[in-house]
């Protein structure tokens, strides 16, 4: 600083006290939209443990690596064996890795909202220019973005790998784009469900358990019922049962509109008519989750 004059000190004396007193701030105040963006970026960084203790970086980073590793292996195999296609569709990747995604949502959704409730930081936020809606939107967007990063990164690895292996460019690009759309939907849906569940409880442990329970039990129940329905009555009922768990919902949408091969028993996904219902239910759930979060935070005042 230019204004800092060397004070008259005894040579060799290292102690100098700078008491510059209180300074007023008359710079810009960027207001509500900026505050919302700040909350978004802070929460997004927090979802990967950045800006927090070393301990809280371990799990999200580990899950990120676990998520990307199979993609890297597949690429290596494809390049080495000079295969004509990747061993797995872009749209199927997230479905196969759903356990990792569920674990990530279960660990980070409570991290994002339960902490604020537990340590009562929420009132501090609302004493700032932001309003309830800003808080909900920032938190929702940050967790959805974090999930998108988690699910889209391996797709990117696959895509880059596929291009390196000189697979058909147009074909791969189309598949990659379809994959991105499906993981974007998945991110919004999972983030919404995770946040709604986590925002009910200030206890992080309960939040984690509840999110895992909802995601895995619904998937377990749905796939069991689907298997039974497949044996007993053919594929008609199989499609409709798929509406009842988040991961099969995304699978159904991808199979109907994004050219994916379904993971449903029998390999037959919903047709276009049923597919429309899938899309409606998915969007309905996302909107419903947002609405519930808004209602929840109306009540959490000071």
């Amino acid at each position: 600083m230019a204004a800092e004059q060397p004070t008259a000190t005894v040579p060799g004396d290292q102690t100098r006290i700078h008491n510059i007193g209180y300074r007023n701030y008359d710079g810009p105040r960027l207001g509500r939209a900026y505050a919302r963006r700040s909350l978004y970026s802070q929460s997004l960084r927090g979802s990967y443990g950045l800006g927090r203790s070393a301990k809280s970086k371990v799990l999200p980073m580990l899950l990120f690596v676990v998520m990307c590793l199979p993609a890297a292996i597949m690429v290596a195999v494809a390049v080495a064996t000079k295969a004509n296609d990747l061993p797995l569709d872009y749209t199927r990747y997230a479905i196969v890795m759903q356990a990792v995604i569920s674990l990530y949502v279960a660990s980070q959704a409570p991290q994002s909202v339960s902490r604020d409730l537990r340590f009562k930081t929420v009132p501090l936020y609302f004493s700032r220019p932001i309003e309830t809606g800003d808080y909900v939107r920032a938190k929702y967007a940050s967790l959805a973005s974090a999930l998108f990063i988690l699910t889209a990164a391996p797709l990117l690895v696959l895509y880059v790998g596929a291009l390196l292996a000189k697979l058909d460019f147009a074909d791969q690009t189309k598949g990659f784009a379809q994959g991105l759309v499906s993981v974007a939907l998945l991110s919004l849906l999972f983030a919404g469900l995770g946040l709604v569940i986590a925002s009910v409880t200030p206890r992080r442990g309960f939040g984690i358990a509840a999110v895992i329970a909802v995601l895995t039990i619904s998937y377990g129940a749905v796939s069991t019922l689907q298997a039974i329905a497949e044996v007993q009555s053919g594929s008609g009922a199989v499609s409709w049962i798929g509406l009842f768990s988040p991961i099969t919902l995304i699978d159904g949408v991808a199979a109907a509109f994004l050219g994916a091969t379904s993971a449903f028993p029998g390999g037959v996904g919903p047709g276009n008519g049923e597919g429309a219902v899938y899309v409606l239910v998915t969007l309905g759930l996302i909107a419903g989750a947002y609405g519930l979060l808004m209602r929840r935070y109306q009540k959490v005042g000071l």
């Binding site: 007193g21 209180y22 300074r23 007023n24 701030y25 710079g27 810009p28 105040r29 960027l30 207001g31 509500r32 900026y34 505050a35 700040s38 909350l39 802070q42 800006g51 927090r52 203790s53 809280s56 902490r115 604020d116 340590f119 009562k120 930081t121 009132p123 501090l124 936020y125 609302f126 004493s127 700032r128 220019p129 932001i130 309003e131 005042g301 000071l302």
Partner: protein
Amino acid sequence: MIATESLSKRFPRVTALDRLSVDIGPGVTGLVGANGAGKSTLIKILLGLSPATEGRAEVLGLDVASKGADIRERVGYMPEHDCLPPDVSATEFVVHMARMSGLPPTAARERTADTLRHVGLYEERYRPIGGYSTGMKQRVKLAQALVHDPQLVFLDEPTNGLDPVGRDEMLGLIRRIHTDFGISVLVTSHLLGELERTCDHVVVVDGGKLLRSSSTTDFTQSTTTLAIEVTDTDEHPDGTRAVRDALDARGVAVQDGSGLPGAGHVLLLTSAGEETYDLVRDVIADLGLGLVRMEQRRHHISEVFTDSDAQRKEAVGHGS
């Protein structure tokens, strides 16, 4: 700074504020009331977070009902309860809160360093908040309320949970917020004595109603009570009694200081100003006694409430 006009807040079962009209100017203002008197409700309304049932309020000339966000940009708030996440450092947390108030990133960092130094946090500011003492946590809470250089801060029970030394330091800090930083303060407490020392102005609320709003000097002067204690001598084996009789003879009403430490030896009298001190000195000197102590007894919140209870009963009596 703050003006309310017959401000009321009713919940389905309770009335938290009942036609409260106050006008608060710059400086340090104490808001006193028992728990549940409506202090926190008032702050919530003033921050524009909770709509009033009726009446209106302005903060810094802005209407709370329509300009909530603008008010919150220029006002700081320190809540009563714990509000700090334990796994981040004070610096990290305060920088984040500064940005939430609209400060650009570089300014947020600079102001955080400044503010933490002003509230008395130095090297420990890089450690996670979880390991702080209550006093240090209170300082962090204060820092996050001041970091965006507001024109006015609301401090909700800032001395809660502090030991006597911590309490004094916090009160000194609050005083400095106004004198050194130029920021006006509204501080709540249920201890009047504490606020008398720091505030220029005290507002007392009870049951959502305004009991009293006056400057601190009025508060104590109008009701100064003197406590005196004297020695006994051979001539006057019961010195206390002798002083009492002598003062009675001069027309000064004296009471026993029952309920005080040293009861039986302490006399209480209402001071009418300088003459009373002179009178007491002369009387005791004439009797040849030693004056052990003569002190101003300060008014306590309980007395304000007793007075008002008496008035209320009187009012009810007149009404029926």
